[in-house]
């Protein structure tokens, strides 16, 4: 036991140090003033329906707790045979790290649910000045396309992230600033359940443009 004492002392010091750093960071994050976000969709000529964020009450609670967002809405827009759905979630300053939110992007969540990501393309729009991602999935012979973007403050986060437990992971995240919750973040996902309105429409569909612009305006405020 005596020969192992120095190792135990080092391990204990590392442990104590990480507890102290985590506590300091948490206190720092808790002290960041709350940021608010609100969005009420208005799209002339379209019927807007608010959808629940989970299939039942418990799953809604699970989704809310796991995503840990400050604000989340799920809308379905319908006009004759055209339809699309918008899932938007917002994290105020001090609530989540960039890494955490990047872990909830569709390329992570959908693939974890068993879908194959066949293609990921950056698409831009004539008016909206941010790049978005067009993801094309397949599952059991069926295709699914969607568009999403993730903003951290005013910067576009380009990649969803995945990670598994690793030795030194904490230190790595600490040094790379991933434990820093200073940024407010917005994650917007558009899905297109009706074939008459494909995901590529985001490039030049005037009403989709207007809706995304409205969301961005609400985010900037």
């Amino acid at each position: 036991m005596r020969s192992k004492l120095p190792c135990l002392i080092v391990a204990f010091s590392v442990l104590l140090g990480s507890v102290a750093i985590t506590a300091i960071l948490a206190l720092k994050n808790a002290g960041i003033p709350e940021t608010r976000f609100n969005f009420e969709p208005i799209l002339e000529g379209w019927e807007v329906k608010e959808l629940p964020i989970g299939p039942n009450e418990f799953l809604e609670e699970v989704t809310e707790e796991i995503l840990g967002f400050s604000y989340c809405r799920n809308f379905r827009f319908q006009r004759r045979s055209e339809c699309f759905e918008v899932f938007l979630s917002f994290w105020g300053k001090g609530t989540a790290s960039e890494r955490e939110v990047a872990g909830h992007t569709p390329e992570i969540c959908y693939t974890r649910q068993g879908l194959n990501l066949d293609r990921k393309t950056e698409i831009s729009n004539r008016i909206i000045d941010i790049p978005m991602w067009l993801l094309e999935f397949s599952h059991r012979g069926e295709g699914l396309s969607l568009v999403y973007f993730h903003l951290a403050d005013d910067r576009v986060v380009k990649h969803g992230r995945s990670g598994s437990p690793e030795f030194g992971g904490y230190l790595k995240r600490l040094l790379s600033g991933e434990l820093d919750f200073k940024k407010r973040q917005l994650l917007v996902r558009l899905t297109f359940p009706c074939s008459s309105l494909p995901a590529e429409s985001v490039r030049d569909h005037p009403e989709l443009e207007r809706l995304i612009a409205d969301i961005l305006t609400a985010y900037q405020l």
Binding site: V19, T63, G163, P165, Y170
Partner: protein, 367 residues
């Protein structure tokens, strides 16, 4: 993909609710094809709960309930190494001591963890609650998801400022056993049953004082359970001359027999999370008399499925018992409602479905 699940449990010497909970869940998950390993402190009787051969049960060296910095550090390093080596999909720790070590290890490794306290340590009477509360609050910083077994538990930790980011869910305990409701009993002697360990948590003094107040009535209280305070309880009953009213059975595996024969279930206690013994009694169609602590009011609806009394209020407990003694028709009426509540909210399948949803959500998201 075959999901890998690691469960952690602090102690193996006491067959408590947390151990049964882990045994039930690990059994179900392994039957669904998941690879389940249970890591536990010591080599006590809890190991006998894991009868399913496909569930691996292993010991965490030096892990025990007692605080010992050197031993706890070794236990921590072992836990850290196991998680790092196995890279499990789900890490779930139960009870506070191992919960602490696992959460720190997961935090350092950047791994999601689920922690189920099964009753906060600061709820426990006789412990320095301020220190324990502070410890639990600090530990929430290392928690990915906390699963409380009652709304009362969730409320107690959510009110703290540091908890603003913590993810706290409520999944009520559920019991596997589903018995047919019992037939009306025609015997004149009414049987009360309490299944509880003889430990500081359970309030036997209040129960004996209440029985003493009703000594002229015809009834028997059957006490099933073991524990370090059993001798004290025996002595107390002798001193109070309640030998004809109280029967001690010790640890029994045929609990079902007592629930089938018993008419009313009693739980006199100082603190609780969401007691499984009450849920089991509800499943057996018994009305409940219990102390109003922890999640018990979420189980027992006052005046509908049973009666509640304030901690240590033996006169109130005696009044609750007297209501059933004076009006035995209530037993059947309350018992039916009790069983209905069990079916709707506390059946095992309900709890399992909620846990599976949670595991799915964790596997689907990077948190």
């Amino acid at each position: 993909m075959r999901a890998r699940v690691l469960f952690f449990l602090t102690r193996s010497d006491a067959l408590g609710g947390a151990a049964v909970h882990v045994a039930d869940l690990s059994d179900s998950l392994s039957k669904m094809g998941m690879k389940v390993t249970v890591l536990i402190g010591g080599n006590g009787p809890v190991r006998s709960l894991f009868e399913n051969d496909s569930v691996e049960v292993e010991t965490v060296p030096f892990l025990s309930r007692k605080v010992s910095p050197a031993k706890d550090l070794v236990a921590f390093l072992y836990i850290f190494w196991r998680i790092c080596r196995e890279k499990p999909d789900i890490v779930s720790s139960h009870t506070s001591k191992v919960g602490m070590l696992v959460r720190i290890a997961c935090h350092l490794l950047g791994h999601t963890n689920i922690y189920t306290p099964h009753c906060w340590s600061f709820f426990q009477v006789g412990k320095p609650s301020g220190v324990y509360k502070l410890m639990e609050i600090v530990m929430t910083l290392f928690s990915s998801i906390i699963v409380c077994v009652s709304k009362d538990e969730k409320k107690a930790i959510e009110s703290e400022r540091l908890m603003s980011r913590a993810r706290v869910l409520v999944i009520h305990n559920g019991m596997k056993v589903v018995r047919e409701p019992k037939d009306p009993c025609d015997d004149n002697e009414l049987n009360f049953v309490q299944i509880a360990r003889f430990e500081a948590q359970k309030d036997f003094d209040t129960l004996f004082s209440a029985i003493d107040l009703l000594r002229d009535r015809s009834f028997v209280v059957h006490l099933i359970g073991e524990g370090p305070l059993r001798e004290n309880a025996l002595q107390k009953v002798e001193q109070m001359d309640l030998g004809d009213k109280v029967i001690f059975y010790g640890q029994r595996r045929d609990v079902e027999y007592f629930l089938r024969r018993g008419r009313v279930y009693i739980l006199s206690t100082h603190w609780e999370g969401l007691p499984r013994s009450i849920i089991e009694a509800m499943g057996a169609g018994m009305p409940i008399i219990a102390t109003r602590v922890g999640g018990i009011p979420e189980l027992v609806s006052e005046g509908r499925t049973g009666h509640l009394f304030m901690p240590e209020d033996y006169q109130a407990l005696a009044r609750c018992m007297d209501r059933f003694l004076s009006n035995p028709d209530l037993i059947l009426q309350f018992g039916k409602r009790s069983r209905e509540t069990f079916r709707r909210k506390f059946a095992y399948d309900h709890m399992l479905a909620n846990y599976l949803s949670l595991y799915d959500a964790i596997l689907d998201h990077e948190i």
